[in-house]
């Protein structure tokens, strides 16, 4: 009993420590000139924290970025796989403990996590215009240079890559593709039970529902609505009505939905469904290369466009090597690294560099990259690209879908 009491007290003490009050730490400033960063960062080790759940992504970092970073700038890359929510918890704890020199130099972040990090002042910056390649290669007017899921970036992060929702169908089995919500309804009517989508909050299914909303009421209407449930519902009601109208023609007459996009892919690969979708724009090429779907499978998007999002890199407030962080980010968005990232054999992630700013040889590097079979070219995807709305609206839409479509 006494032992248990001691343990209890110990745990209580641990909590008391973590709950201690927060004071404002004094920030160390990074180099003001990129040339200074290049000079002082040589010989240092830069620590990158980010999601490590994809072997393709890890391979790009470890076998392409790291060796070239060492060869060109004399900087060693240390990659620590950690989920972003844990990273932010770690930073928040360090901020509370007033720890001015942490151990993370660069983090991989976007959307709601960026919002959380920015509002909790866990990031260093603004710093983007102090990166050479940012100034040279990135379009400062591009929507995703300035907004991440509707959240103003204000120089606190730099784009690393772009993803986009795409649809896939087999030309041999479906002559005309559903390139709008209305066409989808027609085709579902003609082929009952052969279409469906993953139930939100599955990431892809949630994006699909927003894509339908964009197609029916437009991005602007949703973007302008305040992030409150009643206001959002008033704006998206026509889209919810549409999804209910579509429901009886879906798989299992819409009484249930696949829980995730993997289930959708499986049903598509086995011929049960006539389409599938992905937030990985070059997915069709990967499925074809794996032999899971025939080579007649093609990628398409809605005529009015498809949702895309961008993922970013940022620097924590207490990064110990801000100079090396600058150089790593500079290197990550270089044309060579972006082209290697685009290669479907490496990662298959869309570049963030502005093609109009590249010289002929740089453009050729991007254009000659192997993006696989059955996919849409990058310029076509970018032309049909719609921004994400504020992350808080995403959660509200998911809730509305559940109440108004799934449980009706």
């Amino acid at each position: 009993m006494l032992k248990r009491l001691t343990i209890g007290l110990l745990i209580a003490a641990l909590f008391a420590l973590t709950i201690g009050c927060a004071a404002q730490p004094t920030l160390t400033t990074g180099p003001s000139e990129f040339a200074d960063a290049l000079r002082s960062a040589r010989g240092k080790t830069v620590t990158f924290y980010g999601w490590g759940g994809s072997s393709a992504v890890n391979n790009w970092f470890d076998n392409i970025v790291a060796p070239s970073l060492l060869a060109e700038y004399g900087i060693t890359l240390r990659r620590v796989p950690m989920n972003i929510d844990e990273i932010l918890r770690k930073l928040a704890t360090e901020k509370q403990a007033n720890r001015v020199s942490g151990d993370i130099d660069v983090i991989w972040i976007n959307g709601e996590n960026f919002y959380a990090a920015k509002t909790q002042e866990l990031l260093y910056g603004p710093f983007n215009t102090r990166i050479d390649n940012f100034n040279r290669l990135i379009d400062p007017q591009a929507a995703d240079t300035n907004y991440d899921f509707g959240i103003p970036i204000e120089g606190m992060s730099v784009p690393l890559g772009r993803a986009q929702l795409i649809f896939m169908a087999d030309r041999a089995r479906l002559a005309a593709f559903p390139t709008s919500a209305a066409r989808l309804l027609e085709l579902a009517r003609a082929n009952p039970g052969r279409f469906t989508y993953p139930a939100p909050p599955d990431f892809t299914g949630s994006a699909f529902v927003r894509n339908i909303i964009y197609d029916i009421v437009g991005f602007e209407a949703l973007n302008n609505a305040p992030a409150e449930k009643a206001a959002i519902q008033a704006v998206i009601q026509p889209a919810l009505d549409f999804l209910n109208e579509l429901e009886p023609y879906l798989w299992e007459r819409g009484t249930t939905y696949p829980a995730d996009v993997a289930a959708l892919d499986r049903m598509f690969a086995e011929g049960q469904l006539l389409w599938s979708m992905s937030y990985t724009p070059l997915k069709a090429g990967q499925l074809i290369a794996e032999g899971r779907v025939p080579t007649s499978v093609e990628t398409f998007v809605f005529d009015k466009g498809n949702i895309g999002n961008t993922h970013y890199v940022a620097i924590p407030f207490n990064a110990p090597n801000k100079d090396a962080a600058f150089v790593l980010i500079h290197h990550l968005i270089s044309v060579a690294m972006q082209a290697a990232k685009l290669d479907v054999g490496n990662w298959g992630d869309l570049p963030v560099v502005d093609l109009a700013r590249l010289d002929a040889s740089e453009r050729a590097l991007i254009e000659n990259t192997n993006i696989g079979q059955g996919v849409l070219p990058m310029d076509e995807l970018l032309r049909r690209r719609l921004p994400e709305v504020h992350a808080r609206k995403v959660a509200i839409i998911e809730e509305l879908w559940r109440e108004q479509v799934l449980q009706r």
Binding site: G193, E252, T256, A259, M267, Q272, A395
Partner: protein
């Protein structure tokens, strides 16, 4: 010791987070308001009802079938012993493997559907009844039964074999039919085992995450799945609500465990008392 400490720490951490007034990095005082809002949420109540229903049904079916199977094995003599070896396989298979097996066999493009198509019962996958990802949780139930019926049968079989044959002989001498021997001699002696296995199967089915996550319908979700989805939701408050659900799951599971030890020690005492 280490196990207790890690468990206690995790639980205490969950309790603290579930009662935290602020969100994210900024911590405020303690509050029970999150418990009120979770317990007052219709979605939570549906989840709680569904989770309990799935756990109760899985427990009832697996314990009845398991006990019957054990009786059958006892009757079968040497064949029963052979079956005992065979039944060890499902018990040691991880749930995840059984989930994949169930998908491969029972999904609309699985082995059974292909067989039905080959025989000519159906001509496309959508005509095959939905047995996984379905609203009746048949897929989830299949996994639990595949794992739990053999588990119950093996433990019950061990108990039955341990019961001296003399009881049965005495009963037969006194003119009991085989049915009476089974229900009035063996069944009462089997009771402690079945109570134990029931509590274990219930606690597992109640707290399991991966099976309902992989085989469930999105229309309703079990508490562990609900908790996971809340935890990954972007709203800072959702994470607190996930902690509330985790604390409630732990409380219910601990109650079940308490019941198990309580019933066990009660039965032990009674048995000993009877002998004296």
């Amino acid at each position: 010791m280490f196990l207790t400490l890690t468990f206690a720490y995790a639980l205490a951490y969950g309790v603290v987070q579930s009662m935290q007034a602020g969100s994210g990095a900024y911590r405020g005082g303690f509050t029970l308001q999150h418990y009120r809002s979770v317990l007052g949420d219709g979605e939570f109540l549906i989840s709680l009802g569904a989770t309990i229903s799935v756990a109760v049904i899985a427990t009832l079916i697996s314990n009845v079938l398991g006990a019957l199977l054990a009786f059958a094995m006892l009757r079968a003599g040497a064949h029963g012993k052979l079956l005992q070896r065979v039944l060890q396989l499902p018990v040691i298979l991880p749930h995840l493997i059984v989930v994949i097996m169930v998908i491969h066999i029972f999904s609309q493009t699985g082995v059974l559907a292909r067989l039905a198509w080959w025989v000519g019962f159906i001509d496309n996958p959508n005509q095959f009844p939905l047995l996984v990802y379905d609203r009746l949780a048949i897929g989830i139930m299949l996994v639990y039964l595949y794992k739990q019926v053999p588990f119950v049968a093996l433990l019950a079989y061990d108990t039955l074999r341990g019961i001296s044959g003399k009881y049965a002989e005495v009963a037969a001498n006194l003119g009991a039919s085989p049915w009476q021997t089974s229900t009035q001699v063996y069944l009462p002696l089997l009771k402690p085992t079945i109570i134990g296995t029931s509590l274990i199967t219930f606690a597992f089915a109640f707290g399991a995450f991966e099976v309902p996550f992989l085989l469930g319908t999105p229309v309703w979700r079990t508490l562990p799945v609900e908790s996971y989805l809340l935890y990954t939701n972007i709203e800072p408050l959702a994470r607190t609500h996930a902690m509330v659900i985790n604390v409630l799951i732990s409380a219910i599971s601990l109650t079940i465990a308490g019941l198990y030890f309580g019933v066990e020690s009660f039965l032990n005492r009674r048995q000993k008392g009877g002998e004296v």
